[in-house]
């Protein structure tokens, strides 16, 4: 397989031309001290070698013919980041108290806290946006055949991320603790119980007991803001690693170039 030409170095990392008056190759009369650590970027890079990884991640070749549908994965990622950021700040005011405190704290966020209604709405509507985007992204990958070899593991991780996203929607729905969220969660938990053998035990675990109890709300809250987001962040990292390592698949309608005789490499474009 022919080697892809190395991507250009970012400006800050390119070797600087010599300044006038500097040694012009005649050989210094005394050895110049090794120049290092003159900027924060250089200082960091010398100690971490991060620039190589960043270049590997960001200055990638993508196939010719890609289109806007290829941005749906990034869009889903940004929806997740929106949920993470707004969720952290909602957690500063939210109280998972089943005896009325939860509903009061959400009412307080909406009515009293500066920009509270906006941040709450960003979290609420962002959740729907994320579900829509993740399904569109899945549809793009499916209809473009991008799940095929060697990207099967990326697909599997993506499906797990889809399930976790739906679980986020389910656990988050209870938290405002109004009539709608209470009964929707009761119905959802009872649907869980319909699975033979393990269903009843799963519902029991979700409820933290036989009936909706004092700890059910805090269980949902802990699952919603700690357990699943941690798993999702780790899996998104693995997903992105695989996307970067394996590269983006070409659109299925793209033919390999006839002038590349016998060489089926797909023409790569710079972005």
């Amino acid at each position: 397989m022919p080697k892809i030409p190395a991507p250009p170095l970012p400006k800050t990392l390119q070797p600087k031309p010599k300044k006038p008056g500097e040694s012009n190759g005649q050989g210094p009369t005394h050895p110049a001290p090794l120049e290092a650590g003159i900027s924060v970027v250089d200082w960091l890079d010398e100690r971490t070698s991060l620039s190589g990884g960043l270049r590997w991640l960001l200055w990638r070749k993508v196939p010719r013919g890609i289109n806007w549908a290829y941005t749906l994965g990034s869009a889903t990622l940004f929806a997740f980041l929106n949920q993470a950021v707004t969720g952290v700040f909602l957690a500063m005011y939210y109280r998972p108290d089943a005896s009325g405190g939860a509903y009061e704290s959400v009412r307080n966020i909406n009515d009293n806290v500066f920009l509270g209604q906006l941040v709450h709405a960003m979290h609420k509507w962002g959740a729907s946006v994320m579900i829509i985007l993740i399904f569109l992204h899945m549809g793009r990958v499916f209809f473009y055949g991008a799940y095929k070899y060697p990207r099967e593991l990326t697909w599997v991780i993506g499906v797990v991320l889809l399930i976790l996203t739906l679980a986020m929607g389910f656990t988050g729905y209870l938290l405002p603790f109004d009539q709608r969220s209470y009964w929707a969660s009761v119905v959802g938990i009872n649907i869980n119980a319909g699975g033979p053998f393990i269903g009843p035990f799963l519902s029991n675990f979700l409820l933290g007991g036989a009936d909706f109890g004092a700890t059910t709300l805090s269980r949902f809250y802990a699952i919603h803001m700690l357990l699943i987001p941690g798993a999702m962040a780790a899996l998104i990292g693995a997903h992105l690693y695989l996307v970067t390592k394996l590269g983006i698949s070409a659109p299925p309608w793209l033919k390999s170039h006839p002038e590349h005789d016998g060489d089926h490499e797909i023409d790569m474009a710079e972005v």
């Binding site: 119905v187 009872n190 519902s203």
Partner: protein
């Protein structure tokens, strides 16, 4: 790199010419150190994982206490109409822990299930046996109607139509001899013959094989001995 699979090495360190080997030793020191270091890691991880997991799933195994709540005097209940009573099934969380029981006196004309000390009064749970929405008693039709997906139950709580998979759950009832009040006990589930079973979640049929497909939970009060 020499081919490792060409000859089988002796299990004894002495035969393999290792420094410091002694008679009968089969586990090399490197292997022992590997096992010890990895084993210590496993023990350390288990030391925080297992208690945390047990902490999270413990409620599944915590058996509910039998408790009785007074709902009224025997004169409050007739055998021809239901009285709506609000009872608490989870104390300490306000309204979220309350539920509704529809209570009436036992009517031997229509209540064909065998009488015992726990059913002199019939107390039905308002939890629909489709997915758990609260059903409402409609007096004109003498039916229980579920607002969510159209489940209908007759006067005895048997399924009369719609998606529910079994009759409405019931509560044990008794007359407290000291106070003279009617009291409701724990909830139990019934199959289509109104036989008592430990409470199941809505949507779980317990006729025939259903009682084994949806086993009783560890944490629920079981029916009293006969």
């Amino acid at each position: 790199m020499p081919d490792r699979h060409r000859e089988t090495k002796s299990n004894y360190t002495l035969d393999r010419g290792m420094p410091g080997a002694f008679e009968g030793e089969t586990v090399t020191r490197r292997r022992l150190m590997n096992l010890a270091a990895n084993g210590a890691g496993v023990v350390a991880a288990a030391a925080f994982t297992l208690p945390a997991l047990g902490f999270a799933i413990a409620p599944i195994f915590k058996r509910e206490q039998w408790s009785w709540q007074a709902v009224g005097t025997p004169a409050d209940f007739t055998d021809s109409d239901y009285v709506t009573k609000v009872i608490t099934i989870t104390p300490g969380i306000g309204e979220a822990g309350n539920t509704i029981a529809y209570v009436r006196a036992r009517n031997p004309q229509i209540d064909t299930e065998p009488e015992d000390q726990y059913n002199h009064w019939v107390a039905l749970s308002d939890r629909c046996m489709h997915l758990g929405c609260p059903v409402r008693y409609v007096e004109a039709a003498q039916r229980f109607i579920c607002p969510c997906h159209g489940g209908v139950y007759d006067f005895r709580g048997m399924v009369a139509g719609g998606p529910p998979v079994r009759p409405l759950d019931r509560f044990f009832t008794r007359l407290n001899q000291d106070t003279g009040l009617v009291e409701l006990g724990p909830r139990y589930s019934v199959n289509d013959e109104l036989q008592r079973f430990a409470p199941r979640f809505p949507g779980e049929p317990i006729n025939g094989i259903g009682q084994y497909l949806y086993p009783a939970q560890f944490d629920t009060a079981s029916p009293p001995p006969k």
